[in-house]
């Protein structure tokens, strides 16, 4: 049954991608394919990165409502970005190559999130709710700090920052895309290698210790992998709060398995399908001007509400 569902998912993704590349193309084919191919690649990469990060996060927190962005990971990325622009000024920022900036930001985010969440995880391992609340409040704090610094900086810096901090699925830098693709593929390989360990880590706080899987080290490694994935997706398209939640809850529905060897590939497929399919329908079929981010956030937000209400009633 699972195999059949995987086949359907792959088939759907291939069809949607082919349509995305070809539907309504005018003019030179080579240009269209090159241009749209880049867009397609970035959509697939982002969809896959965000959904992987979400599944990983839900596994180590034993919770299917939390996502890295709800806990403030991408807000932290933006805060670091803002501080960098603030420190260097718009001129200085524009001079440094984008890829270098991205890598610096990635390293800083990894360090900051590991420091932050190990503190949270160490003190409140037994108290998930407190950890969640702390995370959400930290997220709000980071966003407010970003806003605060935006008030301080001059208009040209603000413009640079503005273009860097909104979700946009249409333009992604080619160099950045290549670096991101390499990073995400490396992360996927690492995640795939630890898929059995993830199955055990999902069992709770005590059983992984009993089974010799050392949850503390596992959680640390997973947090680092999440940081890389969040950095990539936030750098490419800006923050997307609810896409991960939308994709992960769809995945658990479509693939009712506890094997991360099943869940993760399915989440990557569904993540790509959501973004490419969404963009296709919005752009080519409905000719909407609404950005995809808005629609995805709206749907994801609804899922979040439904999950919370359901949890509350049972």
């Amino acid at each position: 049954m699972l195999r059949l569902r995987f086949l359907w998912l792959i088939l759907a993704l291939v069809v949607v991608s082919a349509l995305f590349l070809t539907l309504g193309a005018k003019g030179s084919w080579s240009f269209t394919l090159w241009f749209r191919g880049q867009k397609l690649a970035s959509l697939l990469l982002i969809g896959g990165a965000i959904s992987t990060a979400t599944i990983l996060f839900q596994t180590i927190t034993h919770n299917r409502i939390l996502t890295p962005s709800i806990m403030g990971f991408d807000a932290l990325f933006l805060l670091i970005l803002t501080l960098m622009i603030f420190g260097m000024g718009a001129g200085g920022y524009a001079q440094v190559p984008k890829v270098t900036l991205f890598l610096i930001n990635l390293v800083l985010l990894t360090l900051a999130s590991v420091a932050l969440f190990t503190l949270l995880l160490r003190d409140q391992r037994s108290d998930l709710m407190r950890m969640v609340l702390t995370g959400i409040i930290l997220g709000v704090l980071f966003r407010s700090l970003v806003l605060f610094i935006q008030r301080l900086i001059d208009p040209s810096e603000f413009a640079v920052l503005q273009s860097a901090s909104f979700a946009r699925f249409n333009k992604a830098d080619a160099d950045l895309l290549l670096v991101s693709a390499v990073l995400v593929c490396l992360t996927w390989a690492a995640v795939w290698r630890m898929r059995h360990r993830l199955d055990v880590l999902a069992l709770g706080e005590v059983l992984p210790v009993s089974l010799g899987a050392d949850p503390r080290r596992g959680q640390l490694v997973v947090l680092m992998l999440i940081s890389v994935l969040v950095s990539v997706s936030t750098a490419l398209v800006g923050p997307v709060a609810f896409l991960g939640l939308l994709v992960s809850s769809l995945t658990y529905r479509v693939i009712p398995s506890w094997h991360h060897g099943h869940i993760l590939p399915a989440a990557i497929l569904i993540g790509g399908l959501t973004l490419v399919g969404g963009q296709l329908v919005l752009e080519r079929v409905l000719h909407f001007e609404t950005p995809l981010a808005v629609v995805v956030e709206c749907l994801g937000g609804l899922v979040f509400l439904i999950l919370i209400l359901r949890k509350g009633s049972t």
């Binding site: 059995h196 069992l203 005590v206 059983l207 210790v209 009993s210």
Partner: protein
């Protein structure tokens, strides 16, 4: 043998354990009993390294507990916590398969499958092995988790109040199964029990704790008496002897 020497533990300024000295002999069933808050679960979690040892020393088969790697410890000692929740839809067979993780790292080999099948058999889970955990009764679920810990094939098995929420039939069958398996396979089971009668009825050794200390330690016949109940549990109850074992009239 597990040697516990001068172990003290504090949580948030509260003293939970005070200089505990205890030897847990190899083989058979050792029951930890005592009133609520005596420190039984904390002692168990220190033995399984769920919490960090603050002071004192614990040795397992002559090795310092703190020096053993996670992977090696998982082949010597298994623990089953009091609260067992699972967010995933896992079948009984898959759950028992998790018990082989210390050996297989997730890839079950033919020997692992053989052991899983044997354990399913001896815990009478064959008929429900394809059912998901969330469809089972409390007794069946407890049995499935215990089977998982058993499949870990460790010399020591620590169980924290496994009889919670079990009715009398499930409790008796779990206890007698554990006892006979422990004897058959020469394993050591340390079990935290609330009900003194189950401890007296099935355990080979009873270790009684009160206010963070071990107060008595010995076979049920020597330990369980009216004076013991008064001093450890602060209750006046009559103790009679049935089938050569003490029985508390409640």
């Amino acid at each position: 043998m597990i040697r516990i020497r001068n172990v003290s533990h504090q949580i948030a300024g509260q003293t939970i354990l005070q200089g505990v000295d205890l030897d847990i002999q190899q083989g058979g069933l050792t029951a930890l009993v005592g009133p609520n808050g005596a420190g039984k679960s904390t002692l168990l979690s220190l033995l399984a390294r769920l919490q960090t040892l603050q002071s004192g020393q614990i040795e397992i088969n002559g090795q310092d507990l703190q020096q053993i790697s996670h992977g090696d410890l998982a082949q010597m000692l298994a623990i089953l916590p009091q609260v067992l929740t699972s967010t995933h839809r896992i079948s009984v067979e898959d759950l028992v398969g998790f018990g082989r993780y210390p050996y297989s790292r997730g890839r079950l080999g033919p020997k692992d499958r053989e052991i899983v099948a044997e354990v399913l058999e001896s815990f009478e889970l064959q008929e429900i092995k394809h059912r998901f955990l969330d469809t089972l009764s409390g007794g069946q679920r407890q049995r499935a988790y215990t089977a998982m810990a058993w499949a870990q094939d460790t010399e020591y098995l620590l169980l924290d109040e496994p009889l919670n929420n079990l009715d009398i039939a499930a409790s008796r069958s779990l206890m007698s199964r554990l006892k006979s398996l422990a004897v058959q396979q020469g394993r050591t089971i340390v079990i935290v029990l609330h009900d003194i009668n189950y401890a007296a009825g099935y355990a080979d050794h009873i270790v009684a704790m009160k206010a963070g200390r071990v107060v008595t330690n010995g076979p049920p016949r020597e330990v369980v008496s009216e004076a013991f109940l008064r001093s450890v549990f602060d209750t006046d109850a009559r103790v009679i002897v049935a089938n050569d074992r003490p029985l508390v009239v409640v």
